[in-house]
């Protein structure tokens, strides 16, 4: 078993990094959801 931890810099406490990571996946997903919702409106017309 290894007990060593990463020597790479820990960015996880930088709120900017967390926000960037969530926005990078959240914005495209939101765009896709909105596009789909707009298409779905045709069903209720």
């Amino acid at each position: 078993m290894t007990d060593s931890v990463s020597t790479e810099k820990d960015w996880s406490h930088n709120p900017g990094v967390i926000a960037f990571a969530w926005l990078a996946v959240g914005i495209p997903l939101l765009w896709g959801v909105l596009n789909t919702l707009m298409k779905s409106v045709a069903l209720f017309r």
């Binding site: 967390i18 990078a24 069903l43």
Partner: protein
């Protein structure tokens, strides 16, 4: 010294913020989820030579259908074959390989499209991309479960929700790119695939390099593992993937997934035709497309919400809800046609499809409960062969039964009724398979070298 992609390199310090892991998992799954939107290229690809219309030598829809089929078969095969490797090498290396396969798959496919060599498209998107799909799908699973032992369902549900959401992004993005690249001499598909391949490569690499593993023995601050119930399903022990497939539990769960997916996948592909035929004259093609879009949203939402609910009520009861509620809803569908209620029909299918998505996203946590966390990616990879099998059973059942009924004089608007009852029957069988899942016998458990109190993986080489 550990290499840049090695598992040892990414073991996090105890203070690491675990909320950086879900976006990395989403970055992988949102990209590979594009596979569900592949059909947007079908029509343009049948006009590669003629540009405005199909001409002699252009590819047919039947030939193009194999691209998706090869990719899905490769997804199941590579998840099963490389599951143990993914578990051993860790999420950074497997995420890197998945990104390269998926990105390169698009680029090779684009070369095939521009030179009009279909075998290159099969090789690129189908074979190479399919391997990326399989490895990418299972890559974040055990990492998320390790970081979120208190919310196993929610964490894997979030990632697998990305797989459903990927198509919602890919579909309009593909449309926009094809329009931008289209010219009198090109449909713009090859250029679109190049751009998408590069975007997906960058995104997935970003996700792969962001993964970290918790240090052995790590647990969330302030969380103590709940006491295990005597005779309960949740174990702190581990079962190796080789041993897991020898247990009846694995095969009951294989059927649970297969039957749940079969019931959903068959109607997913026929949703547009079904609503138009059952409500002839009342539902236009564009309204039917809206229905398909709505189902995609419920498919995606169900992946997150049902898996999160399973953290509260347990995995086995969650699947019991899928099977009982699904059976009732499938029985009600013919009634919606009889009373002519489009709204009732839409509501039934939206709930059914949410449970189809929920079936995918709840299963990794179910496996972790029953077989332990240590080998969950490898066991999950093997279980995903159920998906490949369901991909054949579902559409075949729906299409052939309907065809047989129409050929025997059943009106088109009633032709789906028998299919719905058969789907309900499959879900009843699924209910009993789920009921049969019991704790794994002691003789299948791995001898623990250094047991950890909360079931955390040891990362032992």
């Amino acid at each position: 010294m550990a290499g840049f992609l090695d598992k040892e390199r990414i073991i996090a310090k105890p203070s690491f913020n675990r909320w950086l892991i879900p976006p990395c998992a989403l970055a992988t799954h949102l990209c590979i989820g594009q596979a569900y939107a592949l059909s947007v290229f079908n029509l343009p690809l049948t006009k590669q030579l003629g540009i405005t219309k199909s001409v002699t030598g252009d590819w047919t829809l039947a030939e193009l259908g194999w691209i998706f089929s090869i990719a899905i078969v490769m997804l199941g095969l590579s998840a099963a074959l490389f599951g143990t490797w993914v578990q051993r090498e860790g999420p950074r290396k497997s995420g890197f390989v998945a990104a390269v396969c998926w990105g390169v798959g698009f680029l090779v496919g684009a070369l095939g499209i521009s030179t009009h060599q279909l075998w290159l498209v099969y090789l690129g998107y189908g074979f190479i991309g399919g391997i990326g799909l399989g490895i990418g799908y299972i890559t974040p699973v055990s990492t998320l479960i390790s970081w979120f032992p208190d919310r196993r369902g929610m964490s894997t549900g979030m990632a697998i929700m990305g797989f459903g959401g990927g198509a919602l992004i890919a579909s309009p993005m593909s449309d926009s790119l094809m329009k931008a690249f289209a010219s009198p001499t090109s449909t713009g598909v090859a250029q679109t695939w190049v751009v998408m391949g590069v975007i997906y490569l960058v995104f997935m690499l970003g996700g792969a390099f962001g993964y970290r593993l918790p240090a052995p023995g790590w647990k969330p601050a302030g969380w103590t593992p709940p006491p295990l119930k005597e005779g309960g399903l949740i174990t702190t022990h581990n079962v190796t993937p080789q041993q897991a497939i020898k247990t009846p539990q694995f095969w009951f769960m294989w059927w649970v997934l297969c039957l749940n997916v079969t019931a959903g996948i068959g109607v997913l592909g026929q949703a547009s035709a079904m609503i138009q035929e059952m409500f002839r004259g009342r539902v236009t093609p564009s309204a039917a497309a809206g229905f398909v879009g709505l189902m995609s949203l419920f498919n995606m939402g169900g992946r997150f919400s049902w898996a999160s609910l399973s953290d509260k009520i347990g995995r086995k009861p969650t699947y019991a809800v899928f099977f009982i509620l699904g059976t009732i809803l499938y029985f009600l569908v013919p009634l919606t046609g009889k009373i002519g209620s489009v709204a009732f029909f839409v509501a039934c299918f939206c709930i059914i499809i949410s449970m189809y998505g929920g079936g995918f996203s709840t299963v990794p946590a179910y496996l972790a409960d029953v077989f332990g966390v240590k080998y969950v990616s490898a066991v999950h990879g093997r279980l995903l062969t159920a998906w490949s099998a369901a991909g054949i059973f579902g559409p075949v059942l729906v299409n052939y039964i309907r065809q047989w009924q129409v050929a025997n004089g059943v009106p088109k608007y009633q032709a789906y009724n028998v299919t719905m009852y058969i789907m309900a029957g499959l879900l009843v069988i699924g209910f009993f398979c789920n009921l049969a899942v019991k704790p794994v016998s002691q003789r299948h458990l791995e001898a623990e070298r250094a047991p950890l109190p909360d079931g955390q993986p040891s990362y032992a080489k």
